[in-house]
């Protein structure tokens, strides 16, 4: 018993799983309480919100077209407070660059960063595993396949976007379906279902790439798979922001349930949580938001894996703090990465490449902490 308590202090999730039958509801509750006590006050969330704001403002001043910070301030004064610094023509140019080009892109990066990071954090809690990313159930593979299929066989770009979205959903439905067919309600079956579904759609994607016209369609597919925020214009950002924000809101509201799920199924049941229903809801929300990121900007890997870890270093493992902080830090992270992708060279580097190049060393660093316990 005492051994179990020490373990709980270090790693609540694993400890719970190691002793599924031993303590019953009471022990689970105490482990739960201990875990929450580990978290810090509201400071991390306020801090992340402020840093997101700072990153957004800073990024608004960055770009290929030279605009001085002073000009941006004057522009804002003129636009909203009626001051007159610039002639109308210069004003139109500044408006175009700041409001129509940079702002939608910053917002797109924020949305995508939040969506991927939060679904990653939710999955990591749910599967009680630090190596989990949003693509676990095959959503990115499915969406990529949908996009590629659309690029080759569908004519309108809207149809391609719908195919992308459906591809992501179908992949996850297959993964969950496989787990259901065997009537084993465990996360391990879901993971296996995800591996099968992901592998299936990856091979289908390869097939479509092979069949695509090498002059015309293949470069489009390859570019898409590298991910780029240039695809997301203002109207796309507005359209996808509603479902993404709704999905994030649901995940946020269920962060307490995620805490419970992260202790393992038995404990969650003993705490009166309908594990299956909550799990399906979380999977659904995470799938919708991460598929929409592919619709917006192609596949962007590593964000959903790294950001939850970085955030956990600040907030601790309590999902009630982790999820809101992840939303904010995920947004800030991807905005910074996108700044690099648009400014580093004369051409833009696809953001998926930058997230991977930054993410891998980050992950190697974070692993050092993960050894102590995934939380």
């Amino acid at each position: 018993m005492s051994a179990s308590v020490t373990a709980v202090e270090e790693t609540p999730g694993k400890a719970g799983r190691r002793h599924p039958e031993s303590g019953g509801a009471e022990q689970s509750r105490s482990a739960f309480a201990r875990m929450l006590r580990k978290g810090k006050g509201p400071l991390p969330i306020i801090g992340s919100a402020l840093s997101l704001l700072a990153v957004m403002l800073f990024s608004l001043g960055l770009g290929k077209y030279p605009i001085a910070p002073k000009e941006i301030l004057q522009f804002l004064c003129q636009k909203y407070f009626g001051a007159t610094f610039f002639p109308a023509e210069r004003m139109r140019l500044l408006n175009s660059i700041l409001v129509e080009i940079r702002l939608p892109r910053i917002l797109a990066a924020a949305l995508i960063g939040s969506a991927l990071s939060t679904s990653g954090a939710a999955f990591q809690a749910m599967f009680v595993n630090p190596l989990v990313s949003p693509s676990l159930l095959g959503v990115l593979a499915g969406a990529s396949f949908g996009a590629a299929l659309g690029i080759v066989y569908l004519k309108s770009w809207y149809a391609v976007q719908i195919a992308t979205f459906l591809g992501g959903l179908i992949a996850v439905v297959i993964a969950v379906g496989i787990a259901r067919v065997y009537r084993v309600n465990s996360t391990i079956m879901l993971v296996l279902g995800g591996i099968i579904s992901g592998a299936l759609f990856t091979s289908l994607l390869t097939l479509v790439k092979y069949l695509a016209d090498p002059y015309n369609q293949l470069p489009v597919i390859v570019n898409w798979l590298m991910g780029s925020l240039t695809f997301s214009d203002r109207s796309m950002v507005i359209k996808t922001s509603i479902p993404i924000c709704l999905g994030l809101l649901v995940l946020l509201l269920f962060s307490r349930h995620l805490n419970v799920l992260s202790m393992g199924d038995e404990e969650a049941r003993s705490l009166g949580v309908n594990v299956n229903r909550v799990r399906l809801l979380v999977i659904f929300c995470a799938t919708v938001v991460s598929t929409l990121t592919v619709v917006l900007a192609g596949t962007i890997a590593w964000v959903g894996l790294i950001v939850p870890h970085l955030t956990r270093m600040i907030t601790g493992p309590d999902n009630r703090k982790l999820i809101p902080a992840t939303i904010l830090i995920g947004a800030a992270y991807l905005i910074v990465v996108d700044d690099i992708s648009r400014l580093a060279f004369s051409y833009e580097i696809p953001i998926g490449i930058v997230t991977a190049l930054l993410g891998i060393p980050c992950f190697a660093f974070v692993l050092r902490n993960a050894r102590k316990g995934w939380s």
């Binding site: 175009s96 660059i97 240039t230």
Partner: protein, 340 residues
């Protein structure tokens, strides 16, 4: 034993020589023996296949790619019903047995300085035991000669000459128009690819040959040897480059560019000089680079230099499709092709 076989061998040799009647030198200098009268051929490379659409659709034993549904009516009828075989060296690989099963007498390979044929492909070709011929054209100025070469090979000199002449006339006419404008006064052109319009090509890319023929007017000045292309560029960069003209590949982009507030500060958009590249049945500009680019060259010269190169686009499109593809277009067809 050997002596008794000799007459049989001689007979066989004579049969073979009557089937493989003629030795020719192909464009890469190889000596190849081909039948006197070629009645079945296959072109396992996109460049070659497209030229065959124009010169010898009736002799083709198969297609490189599935044709897109909306393009079939602008392509020769003889292509209908041909199996899709695939390519060697580029594109989806052909199954060699499928290829042999269609009994082509020669394979038309395509070679250019950016697309050398690698050893694996030639090793594969040698195994097929079908004579293969290299046609070479590294740029559009070399196309007329390539067309004439294939014409001689297939005994279709007259038709090939007609096409080669038409191509040469376009090359000469457009370059005369371009040369009337001093280099410093030539409009700058941005080539917008992708649905976001934010992919483009370097000015020395294989994909921007038409822009070089317009007097090297690509605004995106850089070097690439990549065949893939479609480099990402930021809209801010485009605003700074101040292109006078935009040529767009995607209809989705073209349809939104005048409405999208983000693009309104681009010079070409302000001046209403964005043009959508026609792509039926083959792209007029690139992707794939085919003979259709000659039509594209006329169209583009007219877009970039309307005063120096006036053009009756409908009439010229009809004439071009008649000469190269043997199809007669109605006015409605032309409108569909130029997407207006």
């Amino acid at each position: 034993m050997n002596f008794r076989l000799t007459p049989v061998l001689l007979l066989m040799a004579s049969l073979v020589s009557s089937a493989y009647g003629r030795e020719i030198v192909d464009m890469s200098g190889r000596k190849v023996t081909v039948p006197d009268n070629i009645t079945r051929l296959y072109a396992p490379s996109p460049y070659g296949a497209y030229l065959m659409y124009a010169l010898a659709p009736d002799l083709m034993t198969g297609l490189m790619f599935e044709r897109q549904n909306n393009t079939t009516k602008f392509l020769p009828k003889q292509l209908d019903g041909l199996p899709v075989i695939g390519g060697l060296g580029m594109g989806p690989n052909a199954n060699p047995e499928t290829l042999i099963k269609t009994h082509p007498q020669v394979l038309i390979m395509w070679k250019n300085d950016r697309n050398p044929v690698d050893e694996r492909t030639t090793a594969m070709l040698d195994k097929l035991n079908i004579p293969y011929i290299f046609v070479e054209a590294s740029n559009m100025n070399e196309y007329p000669e390539a067309i004439r070469f294939v014409g001689r090979l297939l005994h279709r000199e007259k038709r090939a000459e007609e096409m080669a002449k038409a191509a040469e006339k376009i090359l000469a006419g457009t370059s005369a128009a371009v040369n009337k404008v001093p280099a410093s006064q030539r409009p700058k052109v941005y080539y917008a690819e992708g649905v976001d319009g934010l992919s483009t090509e370097c000015n020395d890319s294989i994909h921007t040959e038409l822009l070089r023929l317009e007097g090297d007017v690509d605004v995106h000045r850089c070097h690439t040897s990549s065949h893939m292309g479609m480099e990402k560029i930021s809209l801010e960069q485009i605003i700074m480059d101040r292109p006078d003209v935009i040529v767009a590949q995607e209809k989705f982009f073209y349809d939104k560019v005048y409405k999208d507030p983000a693009w309104q500060e681009v010079k070409a958009v302000k001046e209403h000089r964005v043009y959508l590249i026609p792509r039926t049945p083959l792209n007029w500009f690139d992707r794939p680079p085919s003979f259709m680019r000659f039509m594209g060259l006329e169209w583009l010269t007219n877009c970039v230099y309307p005063r120096q190169y006036p053009l009756d686009l409908v009439k010229q499109t009809k004439a071009f499709y008649k000469t190269f593809l043997g199809v007669t277009l109605t006015d409605q067809d032309v409108r569909e092709i130029i997407q207006q």
